[in-house]
Symmetry: C2
Subunit: 331 residues, 2 copies
């Protein structure tokens, strides 16, 4: 099969990567025909060495279940599915607590010890697959994973209708978080650097403000119930801490590996709750897509056939680029 | 009246500090005869310049209501009371939200723009006073404020019975947090440096471990539902982050003003919730004292008459000292 392959130094388009063998699948696993895949900022980080990953990257996809391992659950055969990316052991104390997404021995699709979906085919445990409702297009369904990450906020924080929410960062995840909180009834203001991206939110009925203009005023007011830090920069945290109200909630969505250097005393004095937030519930995301609560279509910048995958990655790397999709079925 | 006075450079025992004048009290205020006061680590910080405070320090007390401003609520006259330390405006959006302890224009007893209780008399708003139940001694009642701070954890975090809690730091606040969580039904392990202090917890039925022995093992296990950081040092946060389980909760009780230098990415990856926690509910603390759920008596190292106040402060400064009380009624 065709696959984008990362050897730790170079990304190439292989034409003859062995596809997952239906007969050789581990018990409980399935083989998917990839219908469409999305390029995430994490993929670009991986291509800079993040996680020390080698193999086929890619973890946002919609696929069709083509085969399951002998004796496995066949109910999803032939169906379109999204795939939860954390492959958990299912047996450890963390899994038994219902926190499989945090299983300490998990592999992660296209990120940790598991070939991903920038390919014609991909293998995954059947328990990780979620049927995509008919009303959700392939283009929309590739957003299930990042939209689930945005919905993780709603799983972790009680967002009250009418609460004042601030989203810092207008990258793809920031936009999806803003749209998700808006759909949940919060009064959302989004802060970013890119007029083109903020315009997407404006058209969806959200308030937005350019970062340069907002900075001083946010800190002066300190009146946001909820602040989502999705800038991906260390400077974002300080801005977020300045904008949240006493006893408010600050959600961290950026896995900024760089060290922060700041005093956390303001968090204690103002009794702020800081919530680290990562992967989220696929069911909630698919439901939001199916009922049109969040429409990710305006976030799509381009769709490339898999044969032009290297070009697609280059496009995704351009400053300000939004979602780039890969279509293995197109020519 | 007598009062310990801090002029920004020196602490002295004044003999002729004007006492609050009952006739000149602001509307809604009361004058208290101080029955007993406690020396807190924050007081020692103030005597090193913290908050830029000058005047009479001291914010932990039990007193008797001697007079109220004309036309004020007289129901507490003659009663023993504890005093909530945040004097809020009562009218701003923060106060109207029920968060008077975070009022942006608040003064704070003995800490910010308000003379404190290391004196014969002190003035405070009647709305800040809480009657002390008869079964609570003066010695115990001086712990109401720090015990309320410990109970703030229960107000902010849902501590489930049997949950695994870890308290880092065996200072006074750390001990009270450990005792409070134990009384709430958590399985508490406390980590500290002082065998004498840990022994207090052992006698109360808690598990304890010396820091030197625990360090590596905590990080290896990462299995605590709740970790309370009460060390007062920047190193504590890193240890706390290593000991909390995925999706667990980390309570920050130290207002460490020093800058941390560390990556917060682990908080995001493990979806940890960090809760800044400061002042707490006096009612809950008084109730815990009244029903004997928490007994602070073993934390008392010495009681000094107010006339020996300077000596008392010196005692409180000794490494490893626990609670020092000031008794203005003694000679």
């Amino acid at each position: 099969m065709r696959a984008l392959c990362w050897d730790g130094e170079q990304l190439t388009l292989a034409e003859d990567r062995p596809a997952p063998d239906p007969a050789g699948l581990p018990a409980g696993w399935a083989r998917l025909r990839v219908r469409m895949a999305g390029v995430c900022s994490t993929d670009l980080e991986i291509l800079r060495g993040y996680m020390g990953f080698t193999g086929v990257p890619g973890h946002e996809l919609v696929g069709e279940v083509e085969a399951v391992a002998p004796g496995g659950d066949e109910r999803l055969l032939g169906q379109r599915v999204a795939c939860e990316i954390n492959f958990a052991c299912g047996a450890c104390p963390t899994c038994r607590r219902g926190l499989g997404r945090h299983c300490p021995t998990r592999s992660v699709l296209g990120i940790l010890d598991q070939d991903g979906c920038f390919a014609d085919y991909v293998a995954a445990p059947v328990v990780n697959l979620r049927a995509v409702p008919d009303e959700v297009s392939d283009r929309q369904a590739t957003f299930t994973e990042p939209l689930a990450a945005a919905h993780e906020i709603l799983e972790q924080v009680h967002v009250q209708p009418g609460s004042r929410a601030l989203v810092l960062g207008d990258g793809k995840l920031g936009l999806l978080c803003a749209l998700t909180l808006h759909a949940a009834g919060a009064e959302v203001t989004a802060i970013g650097k890119h007029p083109r991206k903020l315009a997407i939110l404006e058209r969806a009925g959200l308030h937005t403000r350019p970062l340069a203009e907002a900075r001083g005023q946010l800190t002066a007011a300190r009146d946001h119930d909820l602040v989502v830090e999705a800038t991906g920069s260390t400077a974002g945290l300080e801005l977020a801490m300045g904008a949240v109200r006493p006893r408010g909630t600050l959600v961290l969505k950026s896995t900024v590996a760089d060290s922060h250097s700041l005093s956390l005393a303001p968090l204690v004095i103002d009794e702020v709750t800081v919530v680290g937030s990562r992967c989220g519930p696929f069911g909630a995301a698919l439901s939001a897509l199916a009922r049109g609560a969040v429409d990710p279509e305006p976030l799509i910048d381009a769709v490339y056939p898999l044969s032009r995958g290297l070009e697609a990655i280059e496009h995704a790397r351009r400053p300000g680029a939004l979602k780039i999709l890969l279509d293995p079925l197109a020519e």
